[in-house]
């Protein structure tokens, strides 16, 4: 937390509103309980005992997009599924972030064919891309921490 000064033992910490809010946002970023394909299984592994996403305040998956802050697009996005993902994104309340997990979600991966949308960024804005087919849980954790860094550097002026 951006402590700029500490006044003796008065128990007062000063910071900027920007830093306090951004810090708060990184601490409990609830992801949408949503999986598409293989990457969703690695996402589940990250949630489970060995990797334990709850260390980052993310153990609470919300099944409804209305309560979620983070959309992790985990897996290949098909043409048939694309409108659904867009609708889920639209239903999420601001502020919201998107992680594109895996090669398929990021760029179509090995499937350059008629069925697969060549990257989820064609339909929703993406904050962090994670490479890998599927990415290991460590890679997902790294992606989430990268997103935290991004959130911490957000400016009030841009919140709108």
């Amino acid at each position: 937390m951006g402590v700029s000064s500490k006044l003796g033992n008065l128990g007062v910490v000063t910071t900027t509103l920007e830093q306090a809010v951004n810090w708060g946002r990184t601490g409990a970023m609830w992801p949408l309980l949503f999986g598409l394909a293989c990457c969703a299984i690695e996402y589940m592994s990250s949630q489970a005992s060995s990797y334990d996403l709850s260390r980052f305040g993310m153990e609470l998956n919300r099944a409804t997009p209305r309560q979620a802050d983070l959309l992790i697009v985990s897996g290949r996005l098909t043409r048939k599924m694309a409108p659904v993902v867009r609708q889920l994104y639209d239903q999420m309340a601001e502020p919201k972030w998107v992680i594109s997990m895996g090669d398929c979600a990021s760029c179509g991966g090995v499937y350059n064919n008629y069925a697969i949308v060549q990257g989820v960024d064609e339909i929703v804005p993406v904050d962090v891309y994670i490479a890998g087919c599927p990415p290991r849980p460590e890679q997902l954790l790294h992606g989430i921490l990268t997103l935290h860094e991004k959130v911490k550097s957000e400016r009030i002026a841009d919140w709108a």
Binding site: F34, C38, T78, M81, P83, V84, V110, N112
Partner: protein, 422 residues
């Protein structure tokens, strides 16, 4: 490649959802008049195990009919394989049934071997059995965790994934990848097992039976679990056969059909194991069968690991027209260099013939149909996947039960949408 833009307007999205008139004949007339309720479940739903959409017709809480809508994960894998050489198509098969990629590899590799009439050395076959049974355990562990979490038992998932990480660690040891291993290849396996694999799997085999007992302690006699699972989602043996169910979903109804026994492959006939059978064909019996399959897999694994220590020799066919030479040969043999170059650029020709080969995956019969052209690429590859068949039987299993039972029924047939839609 040009990509059509996804539906932008509300109108376009409506077209995807369909209208009531389109459902005439599929749902009862009572739904058209509004007497019963139509409820959309999925494709985004925590307990449809992926992107399955079900259109449920409800009379109060009771399910009158259930219309599965699939294709939300249609990836065009079969079509993509048509422009790849036989060896290079293998990684695509990993990504169909992503809970047990080894089984897909095996189904495809065994089909190619059948087409080419290619031999597999004994050590290769034993390693395959080890991989397939580990894959069965890993897949059943995901099933157990998610099935339990669907029914409200949260903690089982954490225990199941703890053990699954160990299996994935072993896969990584073998192939360098946790999930998409592409390890089982036409002619055998990619490489021999590393030295530290045997101690690791022995330790796992030593620990795992007690863990299975732990899962059972959490669920098998749990009154809530029994209330939710017993007598729910019943499918009669003759109906199950008529729908073409395979695997634990069929054996739960008491039909003794396991391809490892019925049409043995990879030396399964030489292992001593039992095929657990259910009696009632309900969710509970399907659960028990998979739990028993953990123990039967342990039996097979113990035998296979013992053989792995005895049997030495090649792990991949020595037929250099189809299987690449060892890396160590490349520096010494000109012929090896030629084979290596030929196999990794052009591949190999397969006869203009069609074959079908099926194996027992954790979910049931996964079959691979290949139609060769005489050239290095297949004309058509088709996979007969268990999840597709099982989803078609969902309406029969769900009819007459309560809405809350639907998640139990979906969980008990253990569908993977990647497997279904491909």
């Amino acid at each position: 490649m040009a990509v059509a833009s996804p539906p932008q307007s509300i109108e376009e999205q409506r077209r995807w959802e369909g209208s009531l008139d389109q459902l005439r004949g599929l749902v009862s007339e009572r739904a058209i008049t509004g007497e019963t309720m139509l409820l959309n479940m999925g494709p985004h739903h925590p307990s449809t195990h992926g992107v399955l959409r079900l259109l449920l017709e409800l009379d109060g809480e009771q399910i009158v009919s259930c219309l599965p809508d699939i294709g939300f994960l249609h990836t065009g894998i079969e079509k993509s394989i048509e422009d790849k050489s036989y060896e290079k198509a293998l990684p695509l098969t990993d990504r169909m049934d992503y809970l047990s990629p080894m089984s897909n590899n095996m189904a495809y590799a065994a089909a190619v071997e059948k087409l080419l009439d290619l031999d597999v050395p004994e050590r290769g076959q034993i390693i395959r059995v080890v991989c397939l049974e580990l894959a069965r355990c890993a897949s059943h562990l995901v099933w157990l965790g998610t099935h339990a979490i669907d029914m409200g038992a949260m903690s089982v998932l954490l225990y199941a994934f703890r053990e699954r990480e160990r299996i994935l660690g072993m896969f990584e040891m073998l192939s360098g990848q946790r999930m998409m291993s592409s390890y089982i290849r036409p002619g055998g396996v990619w490489r021999d097992v590393p030295d530290d694999f045997l101690p690791t799997i022995k330790q796992f085999l030593n620990d795992f039976p007690a863990k299975v007992d732990d899962y059972e302690a959490l669920l098998t006699q749990n009154p809530i679990w029994k209330d939710r699972a017993q007598g729910v989602g019943v499918i009669e043996p003759d109906v199950a056969l008529a729908y073409g169910l395979t695997g634990p979903a069929l054996r739960g109804s008491g039909v003794n059909w396991d391809l490892r026994k019925a049409q043995p492959y990879s030396g399964y006939e030489t292992y001593d194991f039992n095929v657990p059978l259910g009696e009632h064909g309900d969710v509970y019996d399907r659960y028990l069968i998979r739990i028993h399959e953990f123990r039967e897999s342990m039996k097979i694994l113990n035998q296979a690991v013992a053989r792995l220590e005895q049997v030495k020799g090649p792990y991949r066919s020595e037929n250099r027209k189809y299987c690449p030479p060892l890396r160590s040969e490349l520096g010494q043999s000109m012929e090896a260099v030629i084979h290596h170059f030929k196999l990794w650029t052009y591949g190999y020709d397969a006869p203009d013939d069609e074959i079908y080969n099926a194996i027992e995956s954790p979910r049931g019969e996964i079959g691979c149909y290949i139609h060769g052209t005489g050239g290095n690429k297949p004309r058509r590859v088709h996979f007969k996947t268990p999840s597709f068949i099982h989803i078609s039987a969902l309406p029969v299993m769900a009819k007459g039960y309560l809405l809350a039972d639907m998640v139990a029924i979906i969980g008990s047939v253990d569908i993977v949408l990647g497997d279904c839609d491909r």
